[in-house]
Assembly symmetry: C2
Homo-oligomer: 331 residues x 2
DNA sequence: TTGAAAGCGCTAACAA
DNA sequence: TTGTTAGCGCTTTCAA
């Protein structure tokens, strides 16, 4: 049986409210009393019951994080960032894995919403309509997705694509294949657009392939179509796809970067272990998690939707050049 | 403002207690009233406040999961398994990442303990003493670790090592190097023992190397020492280490499996993407998470420590043969 | 089968 | 500066 505030009060010879104050607004209580309370707390190993506190303050001190797939290293990193920052603020984190299922996502969000002060939705698969509905009656911060009037963090996909293209063009590539991810994915749309714009600016040619699943298997499936376009370089939706593509090219005896260059996006840990090590656009993953927490906490302190609309962070990617890109082959 | 039980009661024309009963013990309430309540619940989108319920029942419907590092694919998989099973029971999961820090672990556990019905501790780094103290006043299930009188799931490390050895011996290997993980790691001890026993049974020789960090870098560091032993095969603490080792061997121009065979443990997703694809002992990761939830729920229903002691599951590994193992080279 | 009342652990007015 | 009182949303005796 854990100690309650009354146990502490009795031991310290004060009233429960004094204990409460000593803990949450120490400056409003006499130093001597404060010390007695502190001693009693120490002796009893007292820790306030957050649920009870939440009942009355309306703040639970808990937040929720919803991701499509924890086994995906990208989301695992974001989750780690969220954890780290939440811990600093003494906030506990519910994590829910939706298994890439939009319906499950909505259900989990509804269930969690009652128990937390706010929710971080990372790359949510739900429809814009569902998302807006959720944001209506819950404090929400979006990561890797935008929605009307909902604060969030996004990556500068256009900028990342521009860096990748500049690199490839400098190497002499003039026709570049793009292996897109899920059509419904917000990132796919923006990356496609960014790539297309950057290539246009350089007077280079884009060859679209896909969409394919954002997985290793997706990459294997995409490889043959990508080379069939005659492109000398391939940019993929993410690193997992790039690595699958690498495997298939290797199996077919196509040399990377000799015959074709490959660029991924994300920079997951696996990428530098690939052979050849993967050139990729590094996205700050843990940082996204950390900022999301900051943003959410800010929203909680000022839930005015007017302010929230302006609260949107953009994170920039960084091109990491490794061994999978090289000069375009001479025809 | 979410609907409360009183709103539902008013709308249904009954008392709050009747609503409560209709929801948690439906058979004790008239079918007609039950229907009215159900309608009101539906109309208001009512969802009971778990915190309030927990205050009185002593059960929150939440559990906690504590892992050393979410970015480690092994733990991410366990977490995913926990999620999936918890969802089935309508239980929400707090996740805490300790960053491989034993002190942080104890702190996080203490903080979480008050908010949950029970805790799943996966590969905890805390001392036996701390662990026992925690288990004293909290419902705990251990994964990948044992402690006196605490229920848990472990892997059959000995059995896994026996399979790996049988495979290598059949390929003609007579001297096998073992790259151990952290000395304080429970698994390291059991894997070392299992390997040693299995080799003894086959009349083969063990060459110990390490310990090394359980990471890609650890594997790179271990590679040279492992080959210097003159062993024709290497077994590593986990797949990450094996993949790092593979990279270093490749850099040195040592052929796998031509010159030396390599076996990992875990079967993380990355392993089949390695080149050569990694032979490994697959550990059922998500299943460990699922069983841990079942175990914890069972403990909650019957917190008798006498029963708990008997409650220990063992999961078996499965040898997955890929391209990193082959016949021992002829001298 | 239903309702009234008490109370879970805590905080926030309001008095003192 | 401190204590008293009321009540957050819910469940659970106890009566009716």
């Amino acid at each position: 049986m854990p100690a309650t505030i009354r146990d502490v009060a009795r031991l310290a010879g004060v009233s429960p409210s004094t204990v409460s104050r000593a803990l949450s607004m120490p400056e409003m209580v006499n130093a001597a009393t404060r010390a007695r309370v502190a001693a009693a707390v120490e002796q009893l190993g007292y820790q306030p019951n957050r649920a009870a506190r939440g009942l009355i303050t309306g703040r639970t001190g808990n937040i929720g994080l919803v991701v499509p797939d924890l086994a995906n290293p990208f989301f695992a990193s974001v989750a780690k960032g969220v954890q780290a920052r939440a811990r600093r603020y003494d906030v506990a984190v519910f994590v829910a894995d939706t298994d890439e299922d939009a319906a499950a996502e909505v259900g989990l969000v509804r269930a969690l919403a009652k128990q937390v002060d706010g929710l971080i939705l990372c790359s949510p698969r739900a429809s814009d309509a569902d998302l807006s509905a959720i944001a209506q009656d819950t404090n929400v911060v979006l990561v890797n997705r935008t929605a009307e009037g909902v604060p969030g963090i996004i990556y500068d996909n256009e900028g990342g694509m521009r860096q990748a293209v500049a690199h490839l063009v400098a190497l002499g590539h003039r026709k570049i294949a793009w292996v897109g991810g899920p059509v419904t994915s917000w990132s796919t749309q923006h990356r496609t657009l960014g790539l297309s714009n950057a290539l246009y600016d350089h007077g280079a040619e884009l060859a679209r392939v896909g969409s394919f699943a954002p997985t290793y298997e997706g990459g294997m499936a995409a490889a043959d179509q990508a080379v069939a376009t005659g492109a000398t370089a391939v940019v993929t939706y993410n690193d997992l796809v790039a690595i699958g593509l690498l495997a298939r090219l290797h199996a077919r005896g196509i040399s990377v970067p000799g015959d074709v260059s490959v660029v991924g996006i994300d920079d997951i840990a696996m990428s530098r272990m690939a052979r050849p090590a993967l050139t990729t656009v590094r996205l700050p993953k843990q940082e996204a998690g950390r900022i999301a927490v900051e943003l959410l906490l800010a929203v909680l302190d000022d839930p005015d939707p007017g302010t929230a609309i302006g609260t949107r962070g953009t994170l920039h990617g960084e091109l990491i050049v490794r061994d999978s890109t090289g000069p375009a082959p001479q025809p």
